[in-house]
Point group: C2
Chain length 374, copies 2
């Protein structure tokens, strides 16, 4: 794995579009390509929890997400820059997308205060005063050296009324403009984030006006924050309906295997979510027949692998009984083997989605996926 | 890695003896060979904490230790036997030595009561009543299927008076005899354990009388339990002085790199200790120049590897600054990378000890080892 200087610019090629709406594409970044639809494991604090970069690569992970908020607070973007940037720091030579910190400021940090200029907040670690503006968020991500930068946005709660959702969307648009103006790096891509709460027409307007400004790609933010599934799908669809075919689309923080299949069908290209890694550490495993809770006593003497149909390292070498034992004993290896399994499940799911699109059979794949679980 | 049925019997070949007393040897077991002096990482609960078997193999680990006491309590030796034995259960196809549970009963379990027949105690997990006799300890280890079985022994505290140390040694000898008589498996080796507290003549007597009974190898128990280093070395030397050249010698639960070098010089062949794995999880790293405490602020921006002279995965790919960040953030990867480093340090140390013996330069190696740290 090399950590050389980026050579290529960011690009996205749309290769196929399934009649059902799902898209097959390829992102090219200075750090390598990403076949889409793609899932990014979350590497919050410069590590995808319990995994080495080599393990992620061996599963076919092509891009990960890291959290600007967390790295800004600890160890600090200046330190990471001084040590050669985030890729070198964490020994991951492939593409990294960093979020802007907006979502974490609104979900984790106490005493936040939003003004036109930016947001002040206190660190959830030590209570110290911090400040992020659109310019500062770009500066931090330029220091980190991620391949895709997200602009600072405001994430309204799912219960926001129309007026708040509208003014918040306007603020996010003004911040997107400032982000674009402040960016200095040529090798890093900048996306915009579509907001607009749970209002279809605001989502459409946010998408249209973001596209008018012109970004390298478009994210859909502020979803999966407590709303009903149907509403989330409606807002996703409203957003993608006004996004240009030729630009990559990223649904932030979503989601379950079902969410990913549904949103892929609406033309979303990239996803991230803590679900596979967090569930793994809590002993919940994804299988072709649904979720399996490894601590359940029914697995105590079960000599079968987690999923007979799975080819991951954990399923090839260990029984449910052993994984249950490790989990009950609080062993670190439990988190490792469970995370390997769940990320392999997600990367395999994305591969099957891509294969089905390339063969014009996405609708059929979707039907079979649900049939196995009923 | 295969889990076939054992073919060969246990044997030990003494290949070289350094003028200083250190021995180069080879253990052959049904599950493969072990070059000695060797260090066994501790896999307490059927996993060497934070490691996969493949990682251990890649470092050159040839044998591990597992704890009968812990596996007896959870998940139970019957379960492990039903699932094909400990090797298959934990996916480690190479030799395993199991202790008898004696040390844990005396150090962990509350309300223990020793009689001539055995020891009753309460589980430290749930307080349930448990019982181990010499016969039961052998039966449990036969169910686990380990390659080397240790007999139940009594470990007196380092402060035991002569009378207690003597009667405890006598009990351990009677239990060793019963262990030998009760063993049914031909493919598993059985060692005896030399006890005798901190009394040279009791140590010698224990060794002599154990050897008279005849075992596949001899362990030195009841050391590194709080006594002074010099006393530990004296007791080790007293024990090895009465052990036969042609049988393998195992110093239980020892120790630091220095301890291992000193005891190797006294003709000890195998070692086990939680030190490298436990220290790793606490952020203490072994290097050619001594210990390094990774959380220290001096490493915050340190772009060097933990040890410039180390070839382990962690040192080849990560900086002290990154390892410090992972440790401060409580990341699982910290335990992984630190454990890889420390076990690599220990396996490299053993390799250097073996190389020096084979070249007749153990005394010189020992001198150089200490010179680097002063």
């Amino acid at each position: 794995m090399e950590h050389g200087e980026p050579k290529e610019r960011f690009s996205f090629e749309l290769m196929e579009q399934d009649p059902a709406g799902a898209r097959l594409g390829r992102i090219v970044t200075p750090r390598g390509k990403v076949d889409t639809p793609a899932f990014m494991p979350v590497g919050t604090k410069a590590t995808v929890k319990a995994m080495t970069p080599e393990e992620l690569e061996s599963m076919g992970v092509e891009m990960i997400l890291a959290n600007t908020y967390h790295l800004y607070l600890r160890p600090g973007h200046g330190l990471i820059k001084d040590l050669g940037g985030l890729h070198r720091f964490m020994h991951w030579p492939r593409p990294i997308l960093t979020d802007s910190g907006g979502f974490q400021v609104f979900s984790l940090a106490p005493l936040r205060k939003i003004t036109e200029d930016g947001v002040s907040f206190r660190s959830h670690l030590d209570g110290s005063e911090c400040y992020l503006s659109p310019e500062r968020a770009v500066e931090v991500q330029e220091a980190l050296g991620s391949d895709i930068i997200m602009p600072l946005d405001e994430c309204p709660p799912s219960t926001a009324d129309r007026e708040y959702a509208k003014s918040s969307m306007e603020l996010t648009l003004r911040w997107a403009k400032r982000s674009k103006e402040s960016k200095t790096s040529l090798s890093q891509a900048l996306f915009a984030i579509v907001q607009g709460g749970m209002y279809r027409e605001l989502r459409e307007e946010s998408a249209i006006r973001s596209v008018e400004m012109g970004f390298d790609g478009y994210a859909i933010g502020g979803l999966s924050v407590g709303e009903e599934k149907e509403l989330m799908y409606e807002m996703t669809s409203a957003s993608t309906s006004k996004l240009p075919r030729e630009k990559v689309r990223y649904l932030m923080g979503v989601g379950t295997p079902e969410d990913i299949i549904e949103a892929s069908g609406m033309g979303v290209d990239i996803f991230d979510c803590v679900l596979p890694t967090r569930c793994a550490r809590n002993g919940t495993l994804f299988t072709s027949r649904g979720k399996l809770v490894i601590k359940n006593s029914q697995y105590e003497r079960d000599g079968a692998p987690v999923d007979e149909d799975c080819g991951c390292y954990s399923c090839r070498n260990y029984t449910r009984a052993y994984l249950r034992h490790l989990y009950m004993a609080g062993e670190i290896l439990a988190s490792r083997l469970n995370t390997i399994h769940n990320l392999y499940y997600y990367t395999s799911l994305m591969r099957r989605i891509r294969d089905s699109i390339s063969q014009g059979g996405f609708a059929e794949f979707r039907k079979e996926f649900y049939a196995l679980r009923s």
